[in-house]
């Protein structure tokens, strides 16, 4: 699971109102090299919750020098875009789980794939 995806996911357990962002408990994380595409990164930035991205990168120990605040005029700032690219697309959680911050319910991640299915009694 990439952090781009994590940034867009929320807990959908019934009754939960503060389900975002999901906490990440990773037992295996990989960093892959993915071709840098500044246009795609620029397009995704407005859709992100910046604080949640930084928090998630921090949780995985892969924040490096990602700034706590969004930089102004980022479209032309290739250095900044490269940092965002690495965190969004190159860091992958392979094994672990996502945890609802309110209910504690865990959603397992196996082979990089999260399982977001709820049980019969949670829907």
């Amino acid at each position: 699971m990439k952090l781009l995806t994590h940034n867009m996911l929320t807990s959908h357990v019934k009754g939960v109102t503060k389900g975002y962002p999901l906490l990440i408990k990773a037992t295996e994380v990989k960093v892959n090299e993915v071709e840098f595409n500044p246009q795609f990164v620029s397009r995704m930035i407005p859709k992100l919750e910046w604080g949640a991205l930084v928090q998630a990168a921090e949780e995985l120990g892969h924040r490096q020098d990602l700034p706590g605040e969004l930089v102004q005029d980022y479209e032309k700032n290739e250095d900044f875009l490269k940092k965002v690219h690495r965190v969004l697309l190159e860091v992958e959680v392979i094994e672990g789980c996502l945890q609802c911050p309110e209910s504690g319910r865990e959603f397992p991640i196996s082979k990089g794939i999260p399982n977001m299915l709820l049980n019969e009694d949670e829907v």
């Binding site: 781009l4 995806t5 996911l9 990089g112 794939i113 977001m116 709820l118 049980n119 019969e120 829907v123």
Partner: protein, 466 residues
């Protein structure tokens, strides 16, 4: 014949393939829209004809369309046309020579092709046609192997194979600009794909869907019923980053029984990521997840540039969603297996579309498109049955016949308005959904036509490996 005063008055001729006829106009329109250009057909436009003449385009526009279109075979800069060879000649002699001359000077090489639609021509007759064009000021040298410029004489003998006229109905002559992407149908054929399922979308249609959705470079595209990822393969080919979800754990993980004839179980390289890697598009892979489309886990924001999907019809793959059944025993306390698939209940077809349209209204960017297949029981179909939503505008509705009593329709919708609180409930009282209500109504009608025995409900998945 109007005189051309500048290059901008040039017309372009598209030669289209005669299959998926309904799907062609929405595809070309969508591709033109990506260039910010309207669809402006010349006079005497006939949608069912293989030849379309378009106005108001630049050569670059035509190259862009042909770089994406799976419906168009070739495109030409139109130099002349007419109902007879005599009319063609007049038309060609009226065409400005300053536009022709860069392609005909003495140091260039060229070739003339003759194409006849709905008629086979003897080789000798082809040569006669080419020789008859000697009134054109060609100064260059003919090269059959690698000409710099290719010209084409196209003759239209109508669309009735049982009634081929002696003389063509219409004739065109033009300079070849580009071919379309029909080769993708072969190169991306599901037959050669690493990972397939019972209902993997065939390559041609998956690219048409990506075009109807106006997928473009650097988009983020989502498929909520992703299956084996055929639609993601097509969208990634056009430069989009892709993600998907499916309720079936085994399909997402690439496990379980194979859909191939002589293979029992899926191998290690059979999963969606591997499919993208097969075509060199692995960098477009974002994520896939096991998830129930009726209970999405996405936060409420406009995340996706397009949603392209083929929801289950309940025929070859089951329609399912999570939820309790009174009679099913619950798993033992404290036991939660990683691969546990929560008990599923039948997902009423009407709910699939309700949820899909609502999901799209909330999660598409403004102007983003939803493209999906709607199964249809033909004897009862009427246009009012197509689901609508206050935030989505219906763009096109193209039918693909599956049998005498069933078909599916490719529906394209575009987000035109942000959802307000009560929009998601507006349609519930709408009578148009009654056709899809009732447990698996579409399935019942489909099967009652085939085999009277199998009207009893079948809750087992057709794809085993659960």
């Amino acid at each position: 014949m109007a005189a051309f005063s500048s290059r901008s008055c040039l017309q372009y001729l598209l030669h289209l393939a005669q299959d998926n006829l309904d799907f062609r106009l929405p595809e070309i329109k969508a591709l033109l829209a990506l260039r910010g250009k309207p669809f402006r057909p010349c006079e005497n436009f006939r949608e069912k004809s293989p030849f379309w003449c378009l106005d108001g385009l630049s050569e670059e526009d035509v190259h862009s369309i042909m770089a994406r279109s799976v419906c168009a075979k070739s495109a030409f800069e139109l130099w002349g046309h007419g109902q007879t060879h005599s009319e063609l000649r007049t038309s060609l002699l009226n065409f400005p020579s300053e536009i022709m001359s860069p392609f005909m000077h003495k140091d260039s090489t060229y070739r003339i092709n003759v194409y006849t639609f709905n008629k086979t021509l003897l080789f000798a007759d082809r040569i006669k046609r080419i020789d008859a064009l000697e009134y054109l000021p060609f100064e260059g040298r003919v090269s059959l192997k690698n000409p710099q410029h290719i010209f084409c004489l196209l003759e239209d003998y109508g669309t009735d194979p049982n009634n081929i006229p002696e003389d063509p109905n219409y004739i065109y002559f033009g300079r070849w600009i580009a071919d379309g992407q029909r080769d993708l149908i072969r190169s991306h054929s599901v037959k050669n794909r690493h990972f397939i399922g019972n209902t993997s979308m065939d390559a041609g249609l998956s690219f048409i869907m990506a075009n109807h959705a106006r997928v473009k470079q650097d988009d983020l595209v989502f498929d909520p019923f992703v299956g084996t990822g055929s639609l993601l393969v097509a969208c990634s080919h056009f430069g989009a980053y892709v993600c998907g979800t499916d309720i079936d754990y085994n399909t997402i993980h690439g496990k379980g029984r194979s859909s191939r004839k002589n293979q029992k179980w899926r191998g290690p390289d059979e999963n969606i990521r591997a499919n993208l890697r097969q075509y060199g598009a692995q960098k477009m892979y974002v994520d896939v997840m096991v998830s129930d489309a009726s209970k999405p886990a996405w936060r409420d924001a406009a995340l996706f540039d397009a949603i392209v999907t083929d929801p289950p019809y309940g025929i070859r793959e089951a329609t399912r969603r999570t939820g309790s059944h009174k009679d099913i025993a619950k798993p033992a306390e404290g036991v939660f297996e990683e691969s546990h698939v929560p008990v599923s209940q039948a997902y009423h077809l009407s709910d699939i579309f309700t949820d899909l349209l609502n999901f799209s209204a909330h999660h598409l960017v403004m102007g983003g498109r939803l493209v999906y297949w709607l199964p249809v029981y033909r004897p009862e179909y009427c246009e009012e049955m197509v689901p609508l939503h206050p935030c989505l505008q219906l763009i096109s509705n193209c039918e693909q016949t599956l049998s005498s009593h069933t078909s599916r329709r490719l529906i394209t919708m575009e987000k035109i308005k942000e959802p307000e609180e009560f929009d998601s409930l507006a349609h519930l009282s709408d009578p148009r959904f009654s056709a899809y209500q009732g447990h698996n109504a579409f399935r019942e009608k489909y099967f009652s036509g085939l085999n009277k025995k199998s009207t009893k409900e079948n809750n087992k998945s057709d794809v085993s490996g659960d």
